[in-house]
């Protein structure tokens, strides 16, 4: 003798449980600000897993890397100046770049006409860059770093996707915010060097 139908009722209770949990967990996340911007696919986690992308974003890992940026010493919102710029136009990044997407022009002293250790032009072809991060790896001056900005879609390729020196420069403050761990390590290293 076997009683039929009990497992059917159990199945119904499972789906109803998911139905209710999707609302209770939703309220909890809205009002308790729980798990905001995180992946919610832990096996113990209940409720809706969907992250509603444009409105809600997952935090990207610190070492996530898209496109190099140039760093200058300064605050966010400031415009870069040759004095604050870290890049010395040594060209190592351009040489090491596997798809050869970096183009640098060295600045010249307007008075004497001699080359100065600064870049006057710095281009990166965004669509060619393969986000390998070798430029940031090899830069001896911590001047070029990988960024987190990944929403780069465009309607055309030849103007807006060639980033120039103004577009590439970001402040140290911005970099410290997006890469807190890496920034702390670099600061530590610089401090030790200064003590020596």
């Amino acid at each position: 003798m076997r009683i039929y139908g009990l497992e059917l009722l159990r199945g119904l209770s499972v789906t109803l449980g998911h139905f209710i949990a999707s609302y209770t967990e939703g309220f909890k996340r809205t009002f308790a600000n729980r798990l905001r911007g995180q992946v919610r696919q832990d096996p113990s986690e209940r409720g809706i897993f969907t992250v509603q992308y444009p409105e809600e974003r997952l935090r990207v890992p610190e070492r996530f890397r898209v496109l190099p940026v140039l760093i200058f010493n300064g605050k966010e919102g400031e415009k870069w100046t040759p004095a604050a710029e870290r890049c010395t136009a040594c060209g190592i990044c351009a040489k090491v770049c596997p798809p050869q997407c970096i183009w640098i022009v060295q600045a010249k002293d307007p008075a004497s006409g001699k080359p100065t250790p600064k870049a006057s032009e710095f281009f990166i072809d965004v669509d060619v860059c393969m986000n390998c991060g070798l430029c940031a790896e090899f830069c001896p001056f911590d001047a070029i770093k990988m960024d987190h900005t990944f929403e780069l879609g465009g309607q055309e390729r030849k103007v807006s996707h060639i980033f120039d020196i103004d577009k590439l420069h970001v402040s140290t403050e911005y970099y410290a915010k997006t890469h807190p761990k890496a920034w702390a390590q670099e600061e530590e290293a610089r401090r030790k060097k200064a003590v020596k």
């Binding site: 076997r2 009683i3 039929y4 199945g11 499972v14 789906t15 998911h18 139905f19 999707s22 969907t50």
Partner: protein
């Protein structure tokens, strides 16, 4: 004979597409929540305008008729599918007096109109000149024949107890919280009606006529654009009508506590709507939970479980009418329960081992 019939006719014709649109949204939302998703939430607040977007899309789609199809059948099938499902609403009372046609044979009319949809399904399958369509239509016919029997046997308890086939009378017999779902036979009949009704309107787990994993989309494989939308509409309208019927027959229809402030007819209509939507929720819930039946399981379930169970339930209801009180309640509870326990054991009986003739005996299968 005035033009008074026009008003309910217009109300039904106007409300049905809106109700169907709301129902698609409701179904998608509930199913999504059960599957830990959001469901439609991009068009309008909470995705409420999604059905309108779908409707516009349906209107702009190309109307394709397969080469060699029976064009007349192909055109007529979706229309013949929708019309009976609109008929269903004529006999369903929303509130006291708010019924298009208080037929003395309301229940019979409902069943007759509901089962005539099979004809349209068969026309769709035949007219499409597609083997999947025809398979779906044949499945639909087989399923309808099987499940009509337990459904009618189950619903026979209603005139037995109420003494009328008029759905208004049925609700009046339940007024004052004497809902039939509170009686043992009524509860069994509600469950049986719901199961057989799901089979009647081809909803999961009885959606074999449109089983997408096996026969593309069954009888409406070859339909596109608004014709396809009409099939969808008919299906949803039948679902809604069936839920309303279950609410009327077993959940007391418009009966419910009145608020006092608002006129009683408003609360009555509200109760009826709430009960109907509740029944629809149960149907969606079942869809969100169970996988589809296999054809032999479908037939076996109808004939081996549902038919004996509905007969036992009818017998129990007879006792309930003859001997009101404890004895009637106990007997009408014990009979269907016993029948269920005994007849479900039929599944456990060893199946005869039949060898198919064309199998090579040398294989020793």
């Amino acid at each position: 004979m005035g033009l008074g019939f026009l008003i309910p006719a217009i109300v039904i014709l106007a409300a049905a597409p809106i109700g169907m649109m709301g129902l698609t949204w409701y179904e998608r939302k509930v199913i999504a929540r059960m599957q830990d998703r959001f469901g439609p939430n991009r068009v309008g607040p909470y995705g409420l305008l999604q059905p309108i977007a779908d409707g516009i899309k349906m209107f702009t789609k190309e109307d394709l008729v397969p080469e060699g199809a029976d064009r007349f059948c192909h055109l007529l099938a979706p229309i013949l599918m929708v019309v009976p499902s609109l008929f269903l609403f004529t006999v369903l009372p929303l509130a006291p007096g708010a019924v298009a046609a208080p037929l003395a044979t309301g229940l019979l009319f409902f069943m007759a109109a509901g089962s005539s949809e099979t004809l349209a399904i068969f026309m769709a399958g035949w007219g499409s000149r597609n083997k999947f369509s025809l398979l779906g239509a044949l499945r639909s016919a087989a399923q309808m024949i099987s499940y009509e029997v337990p459904l009618l046997l189950t619903l026979a308890v209603i005139p037995l107890v109420v003494g009328s086939l008029n759905l208004v009378e049925v609700v009046k017999a339940q007024e004052g919280f004497r809902w039939f779902c509170a009686t043992p036979w009524g509860l069994t009949a509600l469950a049986l009606t719901l199961i057989a009704g799901l089979a009647e309107v081809n909803r999961t787990p009885f959606d074999l006529p449109e089983a997408e994993s096996e026969i593309v989309a069954g009888f409406h494989t070859e339909f596109s654009g608004m014709k396809f939308a009409l099939f969808y509409m008919a299906e949803f309208l039948s679902t809604l009508a069936l839920a309303a019927l279950a609410a009327i027959l077993f959940l007391g229809g418009w009966d419910g506590p009145a608020a006092g402030v608002v006129p009683a007819r408003w609360t009555n209509a509200l109760w009826m709507t709430a009960k109907t939507l509740g029944m629809v929720f149960v149907m969606i819930w079942i869809r969100g939970t169970f996988p589809r039946f296999r054809m032999d399981q479908l037939m076996g379930f109808a004939w081996k479980v549902m038919v004996p169970l509905s007969l036992a339930n009818g017998l129990g209801a007879c006792f309930w009418v003859l001997r009101p009180g404890l004895a009637g309640n106990v007997v009408s509870a014990a009979l269907p329960l016993g029948a269920f326990l005994v007849f479900t054991q039929l599944w456990l009986t060893p199946k005869p081992h039949l060898t198919t003739k064309w199998i090579d005996p040398a294989l020793k299968l």
